[in-house]
């Protein structure tokens, strides 16, 4: 297991390096000029000066390596410093990845936006899991019943209808017509007492519902298939033959075994919590990471886009690794050689 973990880790590093190179190269070789929007009256030598101040003076490989150093070494060090409140080396002199638009370190922007994304989108994912589990269990246990038929149809609809349509539809129904929930998420809102907590809950209902339904539709099928796989196994018959109660058989024996693949699927889906929420955040105007990415893309803020995209890639690789390891840990039949 340790051997396997180390090997997987050793493979993750070159993968990330290649991805970082692809992202950097794609953005860097693209035909655009950061000084293109500046007034034409600026003389060429000043323009060159501006470009150099943005870190564009050097050759491509050098810029790439510098960016890599800033992202992989400098920013983590800064984060550690901030969390532990200590100073490592000469932190004031350390180069940081800076946004071209706001001129502030990119990592600060990310840290600013992270809580909203985690709260709204993370909650949507958790809600999806909580909805999917009982639905999957019941539809597998009562296979071909009306509940199962309806569940199959609803989940088919659930992942066929794109989130940008469900979101807008919910806004039309619940904000425009019924006026129950606000359609725009107010990030400035602070929870101080019970009524303001209710305001927070109400503004979270719609985005969480959209994401929850979408995730539940995909996950419930997995739970169902996995439950069905296990329900037909011999050990279930043995457990029943021993005279165990149906509830014990279902929840202790079958459910626990069925959750093994489900847990890995959940782990694999966590990166989409961050990147897949771009659309939902856009619909409900949640100013989280996805919205930061969209504004950065529209403003051609290359360093911010590079860093955000790479963060998403790191998350995907990391959770793939976690899912693989989890699978090996939870399922004793799987032995990595």
């Amino acid at each position: 297991m340790l051997n396997y973990t180390l090997r997987r880790l050793a493979f993750a590093v070159p993968t990330l390096l290649v991805i970082s190179f692809i992202i950097f190269a794609l953005l860097d070789l693209a035909p655009n000029d950061p000084t293109g929007n500046l007034p034409l009256t600026i003389p060429p030598e000043v323009r060159e000066e501006i470009r150099r101040s943005l870190g564009l003076g050097e050759a491509f490989p050098i810029r790439y390596l510098k960016w890599l150093q800033q992202f992989m070494v400098n920013e983590p060090l800064n984060l550690i410093e901030r969390i532990l409140g200590i100073e490592i080396g000469n932190s004031a002199e350390r180069l940081r990845v800076r946004s071209w638009v706001t001129r502030s370190p990119v990592v600060d922007l990310v840290v600013e936006r992270l809580p909203q994304t985690l709260l709204v989108v993370g909650m949507g994912y958790v809600a999806g899991i909580l909805i999917a589990l009982p639905i999957g269990v019941v539809s597998a246990y009562r296979q071909y019943s009306w509940f199962d038929q309806i569940g199959t149809f609803v989940s088919m609809v659930g992942f066929s209808v794109p989130t940008f349509f469900t979101g807008v539809l919910l806004i039309v129904i619940f904000s425009v017509h019924l006026g129950w929930f606000p359609s725009i998420y107010d990030t400035m809102h602070q929870v101080t007492h019970l009524p303001s907590f209710w305001v927070q809950v109400r503004q979270m209902v719609l985005p969480v519902a959209v994401l929850g339904l979408y995730n539940a539709a995909q996950l419930s099928r997995f739970v169902r298939a996995s439950m069905l796989d296990n329900l037909g196994q011999d050990y279930v018959r043995t457990a029943r033959a021993k005279g165990m109660r149906e509830r014990v058989v279902l929840f202790i024996h079958v459910l626990r075994n069925s959750l093994v693949p489900v847990v890995t699927v959940i782990a694999l889906g966590i990166p989409t919590v961050f990147s897949g929420a771009i659309i939902t955040e856009q619909i409900f105007r949640v100013n989280g990471l996805g919205q930061l990415l969209i504004t950065a893309i529209q403003g051609a803020d290359i360093p911010l886009v590079q860093t955000l995209t790479f963060i998403f890639a790191v998350l995907i690789v990391f959770f793939n690794l976690i899912a693989d390891l989890l699978y090996g840990m939870l399922d004793p039949r799987i032995r990595y050689e």
């Binding site: 993968t15 290649v18 991805i19 692809i22 992202i23 794609l26 953005l27 693209a30 035909p31 655009n32 296979q143 071909y144 199962d148 038929q149 199959t152 149809f153 088919m156 609809v157 992942f159 066929s160 209808v161 794109p162 940008f164 349509f165 807008v168 539809l169 806004i171 039309v172 425009v176 099928r221 169902r224 298939a225 069905l228 990166p271 990147s275 897949g276 771009i278 659309i279 856009q282 619909i283 990415l293 969209i294 893309i297 529209q298 051609a300 886009v305 955000l308 995209t309 998403f312 890639a313 995907i316 690789v317 793939n320």
Partner: protein
């Protein structure tokens, strides 16, 4: 989603024994496909949408670009069955026009991703020394954050391509290319798996024994036998491509407003949700129904092409 066939065990148990003797492979597939109620409904709905989008404009003969500001934001009427938008353009005509582009994007992007995926899959399954590198490449693509990368690519290359190829062709080619090039991984994996199992079969050995060339073995013996997984991913690929294109358009980085797709129409309609909710509902419904019907067809196809399930 193989569960869907399990829903009809009785149907699978009574194969048409009477017709034995004159059954072909595709006849069997079709017979099994017809048993899948969702698949049939999906196929009919999808054909209806395709028909409406391509034949509709000759029945509903209104220019989708014609402005008429006096008749803006109208509701349902005989002249405008789906109302008009904020510039008085007929919504039905726009939806039909948008559907043509959406479907064209879906099919073309699917063909591209199918081509790349099949080539990678066959090579990875058949050519030993290419297997490692190609699998690494597939893993690498699976680890890329696709939506952000798609957005970035379109943002960066949109203007250049538009200037080179004109506003419509440029954006069409760009979007089809980026969607196709980022969605071949599942196909490649499935095809490789199928190739690995097919190439161990005796008939491949027999073909090799009589001196068939490698290329001929691939085209004549391997490819026809891995056609089923390719067809299933082709069907589902259209749905994914349509969804991805609409998502890009919805984020404002897809097709321009004067050359709209369903996603773009939805995006434009969002700002008028309070005045005219139907501007959001019609395009959204069009996307959802198309994708839903394609998914059902894919589901039924998967079951119909699975020899373990097909009528014994």
């Amino acid at each position: 989603m193989s569960e869907a066939t399990e829903a009809y065990p009785a149907a699978a148990a009574d194969p048409a024994k009477a017709e034995r003797g004159q059954r072909s492979l595709w006849g069997d597939v079709w017979r099994q496909f017809r048993r899948h109620r969702g698949g049939m409904a999906g196929a009919i709905l999808f054909l209806a949408i395709v028909l409406a989008v391509f034949v509709g404009p000759s029945l509903h003969d209104v220019d989708s670009q014609a402005l008429n500001v006096r008749e803006k934001n109208q509701g349902v009427s005989l002249l405008h069955p789906m109302g008009t938008d904020n510039l008085g353009r007929d919504m039905l005509a726009r939806i039909l026009a948008g559907g043509r582009i959406s479907l064209a994007v879906g099919v073309t992007a699917m063909l591209l991703s199918l081509f790349v995926g099949s080539v990678v899959g066959v090579l990875a399954g058949f050519v030993r020394w290419l297997e490692g590198p190609l699998l690494r490449l597939t893993d690498l693509f699976l680890a890329l954050p696709l939506l952000p990368l798609l957005l970035v690519t379109i943002m960066l290359f949109r203007d250049t391509l538009r200037a080179m190829l004109g506003p419509e062709t440029g954006i069409f080619l760009l979007i089809v290319f980026v969607i196709g090039i980022t969605s071949w991984m599942q196909t490649a994996r499935v095809v490789r798996g199928a190739v690995l199992s097919v190439k161990e079969q005796d008939f491949v050995l027999a073909a090799r024994a009589i001196g068939t060339r490698e290329r001929r073995i691939v085209t004549r013996h391997i490819l026809p036998n891995v056609l089923s997984p390719i067809m299933v991913s082709a069907t589902l690929g259209i749905a994914t491509a349509i969804i991805t294109e609409s998502a890009l358009s919805f984020l404002g980085l897809g097709f321009p407003s004067d050359f709209p797709t369903w996603g773009r129409l939805l995006y434009d309609g969002v700002n008028y949700v309070q005045i005219n909710p139907s501007r959001v509902i019609w395009p959204g419904l069009a996307i959802s129904l198309t994708v839903l019907s394609i998914n059902y067809v894919g589901d039924a196809l998967r079951d119909a092409l699975d020899p373990r399930l097909r009528g014994r």
